[in-house]
Symmetry: C2
Subunit: 633 residues, 2 copies
Amino acid sequence: MRVALAQMEVVPGRPDINTQTMLRMIEEAKLSRADLIIFPEMAIPGYLLGDTWEQAAFLRDCEYHGRQVIAAAQGITIIFGNIGIDWHKTGDDGRVRKYNAFFIAQNGTLVKTDNFPYPFRIKTLHPNYREFDDTRHFVSSRKLAQEIGRPVEELLSPVSLTISGARLRIGCLLCEDGWSDDYSVKPITITAGYGDVDLFINISSSPFTLGKNNKRHRVFSKQVRETGIPLIYVNNVGVQNNGKTVYSFDGCSTVYNASGEIVACCDAFTEQLKVLDLRLGKDTAGPPIPVPDDTGIDTLYQALEYGTSRFLQSIGIQKVVIGASGGIDSALAAALFAKVLGPDNVLLVNMPSRFNSPTTKNLAAELAQNLGCRYAVASIQDVVDYTVRQLSEAAITQNGALCEPLTITPFITENIQARDRSARILAGMAAAFGGAFTCNANKSELTVGYSTLYGDQAGFFAALADLWKFQIYALGRYMNESVYGRQVIPAAIFDLVPSAELSPEQAVDEGKGDPIIYPYHDYLFRAFVESWHKVTPEEILDWYRQGILAAKIGCEEGLVERLFPNAAVFIQDLERWWKLYSGMAVAKRIQAPPVLALSRRAFGFDHREAQNGPYFTARYLQLKAMLLKEDQN
Amino acid sequence: MRVALAQMEVVPGRPDINTQTMLRMIEEAKLSRADLIIFPEMAIPGYLLGDTWEQAAFLRDCEYHGRQVIAAAQGITIIFGNIGIDWHKTGDDGRVRKYNAFFIAQNGTLVKTDNFPYPFRIKTLHPNYREFDDTRHFVSSRKLAQEIGRPVEELLSPVSLTISGARLRIGCLLCEDGWSDDYSVKPITITAGYGDVDLFINISSSPFTLGKNNKRHRVFSKQVRETGIPLIYVNNVGVQNNGKTVYSFDGCSTVYNASGEIVACCDAFTEQLKVLDLRLGKDTAGPPIPVPDDTGIDTLYQALEYGTSRFLQSIGIQKVVIGASGGIDSALAAALFAKVLGPDNVLLVNMPSRFNSPTTKNLAAELAQNLGCRYAVASIQDVVDYTVRQLSEAAITQNGALCEPLTITPFITENIQARDRSARILAGMAAAFGGAFTCNANKSELTVGYSTLYGDQAGFFAALADLWKFQIYALGRYMNESVYGRQVIPAAIFDLVPSAELSPEQAVDEGKGDPIIYPYHDYLFRAFVESWHKVTPEEILDWYRQGILAAKIGCEEGLVERLFPNAAVFIQDLERWWKLYSGMAVAKRIQAPPVLALSRRAFGFDHREAQNGPYFTARYLQLKAMLLKEDQN
């Protein structure tokens, strides 16, 4: 049997475009004499659509386009994901009933599957963590089973097909159905229990996360080994978003043989139609190939470049303006966008005030020179001075009487500088340049709101905001060495102390800079944000007390002791950043640009948060009191 | 039996504070010789917490505080909502198992309920529409039943209590359990089916929406009538948020007698301990009282003032700066914040450019005078001129050569003006004034992004952004007439044509203004955003074709025909706004401030959206082609 893995680029919210892609791939598969073509989950509508699922007109349109795909099933069997609709029932929200569905078409019509209420199969396990909202929109087979009073097992029987005269029994899985470790229902085990299953097919729309494919190989291989049934996994490529967070989809569609070994694998981040001969049994589609590793810096860079490139395409941005401070974050942004859009389409702007050193000004110019980007210098000093004067001198009256004037402190002036750069110069230049301006914030800054709202936090897209500072440096080196093959980011930028250069207290040439001590705080913040079982000051203080903090959060051994002479200093630092993280930084993130997700937890829709202010648990307060008492003894 | 309805203010994320409130109310109830006190759902942790539920330390803290409440159950029975935790099981996300739970405490311990796996009852129906994310965090009794292989009916038996020597069988409901119309599982019917049930108790944390209480009375009364069992509904007050959207909770705790009549009702938006004598049967707690109406302008204003006031308190804002243009939106904002914070704490700033008319400048001054607020004028013209010059004259180089300079068009200058006002002046002034600046956008503007990012869209809070323009006017009149009892908002502001005054094309004195025709577009946009079954151009065009558009969307009859001479003009307008609504406006909303929710669909977390661009369905395109052809005939 010849099988075509259709690792297509799915454009979310565009059934028309996706259907054209599918019809093209079906023709191509037919030319390659494929018997079966497999498309990803939600291939027609896309997966991350927000509440577009509430538009009945959009649902009808998905059905309409689905019919075109079904009609094309002549001389080939087509498996594809689409929304399955029951116009006669409602979901729990009272809206029309929707399923995340698995369709099989042959001879221009859907294959009726025995013992199932619909001419399609539906998703059993609905992810509702991170960016996922499946239960908001779709009814699962778990819920359907309960509703119709049947055990869920009955809805998970294999489907019998005849392909090229041969009978094939397949287990139909949708994405999360293959990730059942934490669920009480195990679709693969249940379906395999029917016996006589030839093949599992998992159609997915699975966003990229660094290291997720390695985990998938472990999880899927184990299930395949246990059941002895080969499995084909087809995932889409492209980018999809849910407003605050942008996800890339890496594809990496994979064929597992009955021993759980990988025998075929599509390229990452590439639209691809892979046609292969499938012999069921141990030697499914040839000899095993090594398990691809996706945890390295090359994968991280690939996801960053692909996600940025496709997102810009999707929103029609072809030119960007980047504030180039001479620091590493904006340098990495410049190198990235110059690669993605070409240097002609990138305008770097250095915006000095009196606090910017010649060192960084020269480095910004050198960076532009190295990249061949457009470059401009636009001072903010005049307008900052004017603003400070205008605000301090503004006559404030009340009930006809003059009130005392406003006082503009140095801290207020710091933020005036940052806003002047972004909201006045970059925004104006971007409009005139015919594009948008970038937000160059990294994840450490975003975690604690170390940025100015409408200032350096602004921009149309925050490509680097899911990267800790240590990853920013590593990617900068990687781009020099492996992307450009020359030092486009000047070496001195890597050696510079990170600094906002907004006051004399942040003079880089005197080695003064940010209050964030990245080699420690990167790891502390990561523990707050990315731990599956979220870490709070209570755990941190407990680990500190036990002397196991570095091991627990992954920073350098001995660093904690070097940084903090005693518990009081440690606690002061911990509380300072926790209060920012769960206080002001939340208010800032509410108005932050979309973040490109790369880690296992990105800010935005992936990390939902309320503006409720910091909280310290009773147990934390006990531990703190104990430690402070010990300090005094 | 004396029952105390504890309509407490719940502070989200603060188990410590909420527990203190509860202990105080328990003491008070004991003094009133109450036998039973009933607190709302999630009284200890709060309900809208984002992903704080993933912090094990927070969960332990909720249990710890729960124990304090349980210990206080001496001489009184306490019913309260808290998170119920099974540390030995996980949820579908692999994290510790959490239930949205109903606790009953007597004699310092939890009442063990027969035939149930936990010493508490759990929520059966999980809302997952609008702002709700229950399934993300909690396991429902539907899912638990399926897991342990029992019918859900078995988990919904009534609980037997002995209160003051009398036996009482109660049905335990949590919020959505009482709203089962759209669910296949009906908790009230199931529990009533056990027979011998004396009383339903529904503990809720139900956010305010205009008209929701009227619907609740219909839904709850009907169920009570059908079962003949009285029902006590206890809801909290306060505000809670999920980042992008702020909800007020109105309380309105209600006692329904066995005929479904209301016999007692707590005040809206007021913390209150209502103690009453409950005789079960027809005359539960006295004679029926009229059904309170909550659909009027007075309720809308009350929710607006309460929500604004409590949100400011919750984030510690005591002073605000408001850009006062002389238009109705900023005038309403000024009147509102002056009421909430006192005029001393409100600084109105008029920021004219050459395009601002003496008319609006005078009206802004008059408004400040009427309210007794602080007032300043800060011109933006100098800096706007400087910026246009600086950007046009900036030398742009590439590879050592000079490139062509940027051209600053009038449209770009419009946005430069808007950003100069907010990001330069208001943000600086707010910091110096010791507060924040407001976003005065209304819902029509936010729908189509008729505002400038980092300009008039900026601010710490958008109190008016869930109000259509017609509601803004109505609330302005209401504040003059019923809140202030005098014309604080000058009459001329109501007569002014709405305008941004950013160019000669928007000269108010010549009657020129916004491109939004509010008497039509308010209703068109409302159909896009607020319809439960979302309306798209396909439905709009179909209704237009049938001549039933005004009736469908609720605008004035005949208006559509007056505005649009033919289908081509109608379609051009429709597509213009749909493209903005689902295009650029989404990008802007991603970075918009938190919105106070008042309607049945507010922007933000309530209305999830992806930046996927506009889409027109195949059926829409057919309709359009047909209509344009008819135009030509």
